[in-house]
Subunit: 506 residues, 2 copies
């Protein structure tokens, strides 16, 4: 038998190679969304499918299992939070998960979801859910099969197995509990906001904002909060995203609307938050768990923190508003900072999740979480989704989607097989608020630094307490290690109340 | 033993898979030159090196050799120009070549040339050849080792083995013969041009040409001659190139100089010519020899034909000059078409190959061809290159490079290990002229179609007689099949004389 160190290094070499291959796929995926000519679609699908197949083949290489077995009782697996133990824990977790999925099922899910997305798009543009029903049924069946192949803890439910892919260690019951707490605070806040006579003038944001100026202003803010443009780019796509290719190369995208300020600006801050996390992962650990993001929820905590907790704060605009007025003299020259700040913090129930404000956003997520849990559990049938959606939406938001395109057909996730993904968005909001409170406690006057345009104190704190760790801790442990407490809805509700009650005079 | 058809299909599957992987590398290579942030360089090198290693591993898969062996005497290898026989011939050729190269040598060449390019760049920017000497020595030794591993025909020389990588089937002696013929015509033509009292006003081309207008004009011309922008793009890079990713996706690049018209415009036509060839290869044969370009020389024939034989013709500007005047009213509003046409056809000895006119260009190539043959044969030592270069240059061009940056350090090729590459440029010019004469004979009044802005007759002829064949024929056979004659310098010299003698009144 080889020396444990050799075994450990061999293990890292195998996973690094797979990650390097995966990162080639990221480049091709980014290019597809940004610059690829329409004619390249089919060939690109072939390229990506080959890379994905190869990556899966490598990820279930039995050699990984052998090496993991040999390391189980070695000194490399002794101290729970050590580099090696964390790497072994996470490599083992994802290896076990991959091995449990039959190749046939992986390919079938990939095939069916590729086709389903086309039918979902048709259903959405025609506002006709029935077109999508047979595909949704098939996908639910496949995801239930996946859930039963992966398995879940005693007392849990099949949905947990799906959730675990995006938020390792989380489970439905735990999420339902924090969501319930959050909900009990959001509903009265929303009611109070709706009942207030003080309302923002949101037309400020729909004036003319020249696209080139928006691009310059967004890049300036992105660089100011810490995104390194020597190690990244910002391009334009229909659906904004962030893709970290690996050390020194992280790509952000956004979209511009010359008659709407918020979409590109807050979108850029949001993706910059993701990018700053990617750029903060230890470069030398690329391809290993210690060089990788913890979970989707933690990733989202970074984007939402910069977008909302920083970017919609009063202090942020103390610094940036004079710049905004210089960039957009026509639109903002005669508008006060206070009016602008109120407008970017408008709360208003609306149908579309991605356009929702911070208060109603989480209600959008809870609706999806409950519905997809029911779908996977078999308590809700695919054909009954529109009715379930609309009745829940009406009761939560007081308005009813006029068409399914404004309701249950709005998101791509289900057609792509991404069951268990939605809750990570709301978890991200809660993580963000809890981290942010800890940062304020530990750093001191954060708002004062923002007002001076200095984002280094927060950035460095995030680098040290979150980014730098990679996957050393699970998401739930990271929250405890960083904030001293388990995840709670309280920091988020506190911050929402603190920001929105004064603004709305309630 | 399997049925021959199964064996043949298995063989194609293997080579297609390798080509698909190679095409992923092309995307990463393109992105590196166009959009990659500086910080991504090292990670990109790791990605590309892994893909290249994997591609080499797959290309020497012994299974390919087995399948080829089983097909040798089958019906699939019967009729020499059939689809299957051509595929088998070319797969076998490149498999044999790859198998002869020890993995160690492949890696060493890749490692040394990657390092050498940095030292060449330093040497070039400092005009100090001595910095580059030790690297050039190493590369020459490695390339000689490669040549002896690959082998060459009896009566040939080691350089043939290197040439064969870029222009399969060509050999030094044959090239030397056509070059000698070409030279004997070029020298008196150049002398006559230099002695003429009629000279163009080239300052026309150095007026101000707004970059955005250049880009629009270039794209218009590129689309007009047949480059399909639904299946390709045009971006900006320091060193222009064309990269065909596969069916439906071909990328061109160019560079703009607001005070020089020719660089971007003729560069765009040149790369469009490459791209039109890539777009004309049979899509369904992607990844097999029948879906691949014949050789670098044939590829260059397509770029040089559109750039020079079409793009610098009088007929081309009959159609395009009014457009040019509309795009650049300040620069060209008061300039006659005749003066403009003479300016873009100026012949003038100069130091830099990529800026050379059509008459002197081939003399640049011949100089390099002779020197690199001598280097590989051991008749010339690395440290003696500057002297050999300058003395030959002075005798051929009547001027002496003031520094080695204007002389033997100007091209990247040797530092990249590309010995045997240069002659394909001049071969391309000769192939282009010979094809073009055949096209004119077979189609009729080509110039008349150009003058009307109609490039379809030439495009369709090239599609049918050249692009469509992929590698069905070797380069030399293709020339015979298409033109009825072996490669000759006569068509090129005829066309150069016919264009330049009237212009210069000689």
């Amino acid at each position: 038998m080889l020396a444990p160190n050799t075994i450990y290094q061999d293990l890292l070499t195998l996973v690094r190679k797979a990650a390097l291959l995966g990162s080639c796929g990221s480049v091709l995926g980014w290019d597809r969304e940004t610059y690829m000519p329409v004619g390249g679609n089919e060939h690109r699908a072939n390229q990506l499918s080959m890379l994905a197949g190869l990556a899966h083949e490598w990820s279930v290489n039995p050699k990984i299992g052998e090496l993991l077995g040999q390391l189980q009782d070695s000194e490399f697996n002794d101290a729970p939070d050590s580099d090696s133990a964390a790497n072994i824990r996470e490599i083992s977790r994802s290896y076990q998960r991959s091995r449990k999925l039959p190749q046939r099922l992986v390919e079938e899910i990939s095939r069916v979801t590729a086709l389903a997305q086309h039918h979902w798009a048709t259903a959405r543009s025609n506002g006709d859910f029935t077109v999508f029903v047979p595909w949704l049924k098939q996908i639910i069946d496949l995801k239930r099969e996946e859930a039963s192949a992966v398995g879940f803890s005693e007392g849990g439910e099949p949905y947990d197995a799906l959730l675990d892919e995006y938020e390792p260690g989380a489970n439905s019951a735990g999420i339902a509990t924090v969501f319930a707490g959050l909900r009990s605070e959001l509903v009265p806040l929303l009611d109070a906001v709706k009942g207030s006579t003080k309302q923002p003038d949101t037309s400020i944001l729909s004036r003319e904002y020249a696209v080139e100026q928006q691009a310059k202003f967004g890049r300036m803010a992105s660089a100011a909060i810490g995104f390194d443009f020597d190690k990244g780019r910002l391009d334009v796509t229909t659906h904004p995203f962030c893709s970290g290719f690996g050390p020194g190369d992280c790509r952000l995208t956004t979209r511009y609307d010359k008659n709407f300020f918020s979409s590109a600006f807050f979108g850029t801050l949001h993706e910059s938050g993701h990018g700053i996390y990617e750029q903060g992962l230890p470069e030398s650990a690329f391809g290993t768990p210690l060089g990788s993001a913890v979970s989707l929820g933690i990733h989202e905590s970074q984007s939402r923190m910069w977008e909302n907790l920083v970017g919609r704060s009063s202090a942020f605009w103390t610094h940036f508003y004079p710049h905004a007025q210089t960039f957009f003299p026509q639109a903002l020259g005669n508008t006060s900072r206070e009016d602008f700040h109120f407008a970017i913090n408008a709360v208003n129930p609306s149908f579309i999740r991605v356009e929702a404000d911070e208060v109603t956003y989480n209600l959008h997520i809870m609706l999806r979480f409950d519905l997809e849990r029911d779908l996977i559990a078999g308590r809700l049938q695919a054909e009954d989704v529109p009715e379930a959606w609309n009745s829940r939406f009406t009761s939560d938001f007081g308005i009813t989607p006029p068409t399914d395109a404004d309701g249950c057909l709005q998101d791509v996730h289900w057609s792509a097989g991404l069951f268990g993904y939605f809750p990570t968005y709301a978890l991200g909001n809660m993580y963000a608020a809890q981290f942010f409170e800890a940062a304020e406690e530990q750093i001191g006057d954060l708002q004062g630094t923002f007002a001076k345009g200095d984002f280094q104190p927060l950035l460095q704190w995030l680098r040290e307490h979150i980014h730098h760790h990679g996957q050393r801790f699970s998401a739930s442990r990271l929250v405890e290690v960083v904030t001293g407490k388990p995840l709670s809805d309280q920091p988020l509700t506190r911050q929402l109340n603190n920001r929105f009650r004064p603004l709305y005079g309630i």
